[in-house]
Structure formats: structure tokens, C-alpha cells
């Protein structure tokens, strides 16, 4: 187990290096010139040269890359070029807003989709099943953008059930007042694909021999579904939740832009538009690390869910 963990952790190093180099190359060679963006329209060439000097943009490319690699491994992220806010502060102040919105979305999505999927898979081909499949197909054919535009217009602007947008310093006010509409809309969008996916996972299990055996020995349907089918179908479900988890931390940037939520996703958009390299680099590396950590945890969860799984 320890050897497995060490091997997995060592395997992440080349990936991390690749991420750093790819992001560096993409933004440094093809992105906008940060000095010109920071200098503004009225900057003289001397001023721009001065900014480049200050940011270290004049040094050799390899030296710049080395500076960033050193920053990553010493956790000295530096500060944003555009606002001079330190990257650590930026994370600390934006992450709570993102989590306040994304946490309920992920939780509700999974908790609603699992039982619906279980029920329609059990009565596969029935009227309910076909109705659910039809509704999800319909729901999936409409753009996320339309849900947000129409939802914000109808529930906030016309009916006034929710504030159109806004954010507060208190977590409870946010959860009670500002988060419900974005959460509701995101769940409405995410529920359909989730239900269809989980239904296919359940169907993989529901025709297996052990289900027939359980029925033959007289178990109740509830015991069969929740005691036998669900635990076996959980492995792909956990994989899928694991895939979504890193997104929890960056947030749905569209939701944050639409509802003016001061979260990480919006910050990333701003940083890319301003070629704010320290922020981009930090967010990317930080998310790559989270993604790899979640993948490792997912693999460990397999072992816990199904003792037959061997970790190699």
C-alpha cells in the first residue's frame, strides 16, 4: 500500500512538469504581451520596456521558466501582475464563493440522479422509463446558456422569487439568498446527463445473475436494489463523481459570470484576458494537483468499495 502510494505520487511529477511547460509555452509565446496590457493605451515604449524589465520578461526564456518552477516548489506564488494582490490571498478570498455554489450543485445532482436512475433502471422499458428518457433527451438538446438566460429572466427578473445577482460577505446569506437560483439552474442542466449515465450503470448490473439469485431466494425489491445493485453500480458512479470533483474548485465560470459571483472561475477568465501570468500559472498547477489527487483518491475508493480490486 505504501509502495503503491509512493509510486503513484512519483508518477505525478512528469505530468506536473508537462502541465507547467505547456501552459508556459501557450501563454508566453502566443498570449498577449502582459507589459502592453498593463501599460494601457497611452504607455510610451520606454514605460513598456520598464514594465517588462520589472516583470522579468526580458530575461532568457529558460530562466523565466526556471523562476516559475522554483516558485511552484517553494510555494512562493508571487502576486498578480494586474492588481498586485498576492496569489495566495486571491485563492483564499475567491475559493469560498466557488465552493458555496458548487458544493450544493454536485451534492444535489448526485443525490437526485441516483434514485431516479435506480427506479427507471428497475422498471426499464416502462412508461416512466420512456418518459424520463424523453424528458432528458429534450432537456439535453437545449443549451446551458438558454437555461441561465431564461431562468434568470423568469425567476429573478419577472417573478422576483430570487435576487437577479449579488453576493454577500456572510456564507449563510449567500446560501439562503444568492446561491439558490444558480444552484437550481445548474442542477436542472446537470440532472439529465447524470440520470442517463447512472441509468446505464444500473442497467449493467440489474441483469446480472446475482440479482436473479437474490430474487429467487425471496429478497424484497428494496433489499435487492439498495443492498445489491446499488453497491455494485457505485464504482462507475464514484469514477464519474471523481471526474467532476476538480471542477468543484474552479467552479462553473459561466454561472459565476452570469450571477456576478466573486469566485475562482471568473478570476481565471479575467486573468486570461489580462495575460496575468502568475494567476494563470498558479490556478493551472493547483488544479492539476487537485485532479491528480482526486484520481488517486478515486482509485483508493475502488478498493474500499470492492475488496476484489487490486491496486497495482
Amino acid at each position: 500500500m505504501v509502495a503503491y502510494l509512493i509510486r503513484r505520487l512519483l508518477q505525478t511529477l512528469p505530468t506536473l512538469l508537462g502541465v507547467i511547460v505547456l501552459v508556459f509555452v501557450l501563454f508566453r509565446f502566443f498570449g498577449g504581451d502582459p507589459a502592453e496590457i498593463l501599460g494601457g493605451l497611452n504607455a510610451t515604449p520606454e514605460q513598456i520596456m520598464q514594465i517588462r524589465e520589472q516583470l522579468g520578461l526580458n530575461r532568457p526564456v529558460l530562466e523565466q521558466l526556471w523562476i516559475f518552477v522554483r516558485q511552484i516548489f517553494t510555494f512562493q506564488w508571487g502576486s498578480s501582475w494586474a492588481t498586485h494582490e498576492s496569489v495566495a490571498d486571491l485563492f483564499a478570498s475567491r475559493l469560498p464563493a466557488t465552493l458555496t455554489v458548487m458544493g450544493p450543485i454536485l451534492l444535489l445532482d448526485s443525490l437526485l440522479a441516483l434514485p431516479i436512475a435506480l427506479v427507471v433502471a428497475r422498471w426499464r422499458g416502462s412508461l416512466t422509463d420512456r418518459a424520463v428518457m424523453l424528458i432528458t433527451t429534450l432537456a439535453l438538446s437545449i443549451s446551458f446558456l438558454v437555461y441561465v438566460i431564461v431562468g434568470q429572466w423568469l425567476f429573478a427578473f419577472k417573478l422576483g422569487w430570487f435576487p437577479v445577482q449579488g453576493w454577500d460577505a456572510s456564507v449563510w446569506t449567500n446560501l439562503a439568498q444568492y446561491a439558490p437560483l444558480p444552484v437550481l439552474l445548474a442542477v436542472a442542466v446537470g440532472l439529465s446527463p447524470q440520470t442517463r449515465l447512472y441509468r446505464s450503470f444500473m442497467l449493467d448490473e440489474i441483469d446480472q445473475d446475482y440479482v436473479r439469485t437474490a430474487r429467487a431466494k425471496g429478497l424484497g425489491e428494496g433489499r435487492i436494489l439498495f443492498g445489491h445493485v446499488l453497491p455494485n453500480a457505485l464504482i462507475p458512479v464514484v469514477t464519474h463523481i471523481g471526474v467532476q470533483l476538480p471542477g468543484l474548485f474552479v467552479g462553473s465560470f459561466l454561472i459565476e459570470v452570469f450571477f456576478s459571483i466573486p469566485g475562482l472561475g471568473r478570476e481565471v477568465m479575467l486573468a486570461v484576458n489580462r495575460s496575468d501570468y502568475p494567476v494563470i500559472q498558479a490556478v493551472t498547477v493547483y488544479l492539476a494537483v487537485i485532479t491528480m489527487a482526486v484520481n488517486l483518491l478515486t482509485d483508493l475508493a475502488y478498493r474500499w468499495l470492492d475488496p476484489r480490486v487490486e491496486l497495482r
Binding site: 512528469p14 505530468t15 506536473l16 508537462g18 502541465v19 505547456l22 501552459v23 501557450l26 501563454f27 502566443f30 498570449g31 498577449g32 426499464r124 422499458g125 433527451t137 429534450l138 439535453l140 438538446s141 437545449i142 443549451s143 446551458f144 446558456l145 438558454v146 438566460i149 431564461v150 429572466w153 427578473f157 442517463r196 449515465l197 441509468r199 446505464s200 442497467l203 449493467d204 476538480p246 471542477g247 474552479v250 465560470f253 459561466l254 472561475g265 481565471v268 477568465m269 486570461v272 494563470i280 490556478v283 493551472t284 488544479l287 492539476a288 485532479t291 491528480m292
Partner: protein, 341 residues
């Protein structure tokens, strides 16, 4: 050679037979074919060629609908304050008459602007229906081309990784890990900075970032097939590696790629909408479902719902037909999975 051709015909023939029995699949195929005809007609300029022309008053409502709320408001009454004559101090006053003379010499054609259009008009008086037709062409073209690019990239890389393994496989796995470790939106924004805007740009962005899923599946399929008897037999009679990869194994896994291709078309069309909303999508002189929806956000608050409704309607019909067709295609090509999702 004749044997393999007959066997392939058998597999695809059987799939075609199964597909024809699927009524939902056939109906959706008809709809998709209709859209395909529309794409060709718009691309050739037979339809919606003049979508940029001003055809009606600004925000003309669709047939059968009352004028928009803003249009019903009475015009602002003229200012109550009497206008002062500035002729004494205005240095340009002596020349106004001369300019009026010269203006008469020029003719400006005022087009006859309609009060109603089938699906209404946008802010610039352009026909929303023509825009939607033109937008369908752009969006479907972008989605299909991006999916083809992603499928080609994923197939070639997956074939190499799965067939050769070894250090080449390791390098490709490393590239895959790097691409999947970066959050999707950051990758897309980064590539957007690289390839620039316009519909070709969107195709490149989506294709270059979206190949990972196909790569993974194709790689797994190739790894499964590479040790099978027919591939080893081909090797024994001296077929080179590329021939075994693309003439022997590829036809046997092409159904997986075909299904993935159509799944990605729908996904990329939805992504194009979001990219266009963020301003990274199609250019200003182009129109797509995404750029129509991006305009629709501010229109809806003013009560002009028709552009939103038209773009959503076109997109919903196409995406739904295409998804149902994909489901039928998968069922026909892989009967084991029938009705799973």
C-alpha cells in the same frame, strides 16, 4: 481480399438492417438529412444569402405577435424649452444653404422596411429566420469539423499508442495526462489565444482540446486487437505495421470511432455556443446559434423574445435529432448495448 470485403459488408449490412428497423432512428435520420441539405443550401448561397441586409424596422415582431413592449411606448415629447437661434454666433451658418444644395445632388435609397417578418427582426432589422438558417450552417459546420478533427487526432494517436506501446505509448500517455490534468476551460482559453477567432479558430480550439476521450477509447481497442489471431496472421504474411494498424484493425474498431464522432458533434455544438457567448467564438461578420443567443440575453429583458426562441428552437431540433440518431447508430452497430442509455 474478397473475403474481408464480404465480411465487412456483412457487418455493416447487418448494422444498416438493424438501423432501418429502428423507427425513431430513421425519423431522426430524416431530420438530420434535412439539416444537412440546409447546410449545403446555405453554403452554396441558395438560402439566406442576404442575411446581413436590413429588411425590417429594428426589432420588428414576428407574424402574429404584437409589437415589443418598448415599441409600444409613445415617443418622447419634444423638449419644452424653446430653441435659441444660434445663427449669430454659429461660424458655420453661412454655409448651411450651400451644403443643403450639395446634399440634394446625392441620392440615398431608403429601403422599404417591413413591420413584421416571419420570425421577427433583430436590432439592426435583419431577418431572424435568415440569421437562424445561416447560423445553423455555421454551428453545424463547426461542430462536425471539430469532431472530425478530434476523431482523426484521437484515432491516429490512440492507434499508435495502443499498437506500438513501449516508449511511444508512454510519451502519448504522458501527453494525455498533461491534457486531462489542465482544467478544460483553461485549455480552451489558452488555445483560443493561440489560434485566434473566427469559425476556423473554433474548429481548431475544440478539435485540439477535445481528442482525449477518443484517444483513450481507440487506444484500448487497439491494445485489445493487436494480439488477436487475424492481426498476427497479417504480420506472418508480411503486412507492415501501418497496414496492420489501418487496414486490418481500424475497420474492426471503426464503429467505436463513428459513435464517438457523433457524440462529439453534439458536445462541440454546445461548446461553440458558450465560446461565442464569451466572445471567443465566430467572427463579427458571421452568425451562429451561439452569437444569436449571446445577443438574446439583453434582448429578453427588453421583451424581444423571438431571436432567443428561434435560435433555441433550431438548435433543439437539430441536437435532439442528432442525439437520437447517434443512439440508434450505437444500437445498430453494437447490439449488446441496446437500450442502455
Amino acid at each position: 481480399m474478397a473475403g474481408t470485403a464480404a465480411a465487412m459488408n456483412g457487418v455493416w449490412g447487418a448494422a444498416a438492417r438493424r438501423f432501418r428497423q429502428d423507427r425513431v432512428g430513421m425519423a431522426s435520420l430524416v431530420v438530420v438529412m434535412g439539416f444537412a441539405w440546409l447546410v449545403v443550401a446555405v453554403a452554396m448561397g441558395w438560402l439566406a444569402g442576404d442575411w446581413q441586409r436590413e429588411r425590417a424596422v429594428s426589432y420588428a415582431p414576428p407574424w402574429g405577435a404584437a409589437a415589443g413592449p418598448a415599441a409600444m411606448q409613445p415617443p418622447e415629447s419634444a423638449s419644452e424649452v424653446p430653441l435659441l437661434s444660434l445663427a449669430d454666433v454659429d461660424p458655420l451658418a453661412p454655409r448651411y444653404a450651400e451644403w443643403a444644395e450639395r446634399a440634394k445632388a446625392l441620392q440615398s435609397a431608403q429601403p422599404v422596411l417591413a413591420e413584421h417578418l416571419p420570425m421577427g427582426a433583430d436590432r439592426l432589422g435583419r431577418d431572424v429566420l435568415a440569421k437562424a438558417l445561416r447560423g445553423s450552417q455555421t454551428s453545424i459546420f463547426v461542430g462536425v469539423m471539430a469532431a472530425v478533427l478530434a476523431a482523426v487526432l484521437g484515432t491516429v494517436l490512440g492507434a499508435i499508442g495502443g499498437f506500438f506501446g513501449g516508449w511511444m505509448g508512454d510519451v502519448l500517455e504522458w501527453v494525455y495526462n498533461v491534457f486531462t490534468a489542465i482544467p478544460g476551460i483553461l485549455l480552451i482559453l489558452a488555445f483560443a489565444a493561440v489560434v485566434g477567432h473566427g469559425s476556423t479558430g473554433v474548429v481548431l480550439i475544440l478539435g485540439l482540446t477535445g481528442w482525449t476521450g477518443i484517444y483513450r477509447l481507440v487506444r484500448a481497442e487497439f491494445m485489445k486487437h493487436v494480439g488477436r489471431d487475424y492481426v498476427r496472421a497479417a504480420q506472418a504474411i508480411g503486412a507492415p505495421a501501418w497496414s496492420r494498424m489501418f487496414r486490418h484493425i481500424l475497420p474492426n474498431v471503426s464503429h467505436v470511432i463513428l459513435v464517438q464522432l457523433s457524440i462529439h458533434v453534439v458536445g462541440f455544438i454546445k461548446y461553440e455556443v458558450i465560446l461565442s457567448y464569451l466572445g471567443l467564438g465566430v467572427g463579427l461578420d458571421e452568425v451562429s446559434w451561439g452569437s444569436m443567443l449571446a445577443e438574446a440575453q439583453s434582448e429578453l429583458i427588453q421583451g424581444y423574445w423571438w431571436q432567443l426562441a428561434t435560435a433555441t428552437g433550431f438548435m433543439a431540433v437539430f441536437v435532439m435529432a442528432f442525439s437520437l440518431m447517434t443512439d440508434a447508430l450505437r444500437d445498430a452497430l453494437d447490439p449488446k448495448l441496446r437500450g442502455l442509455s
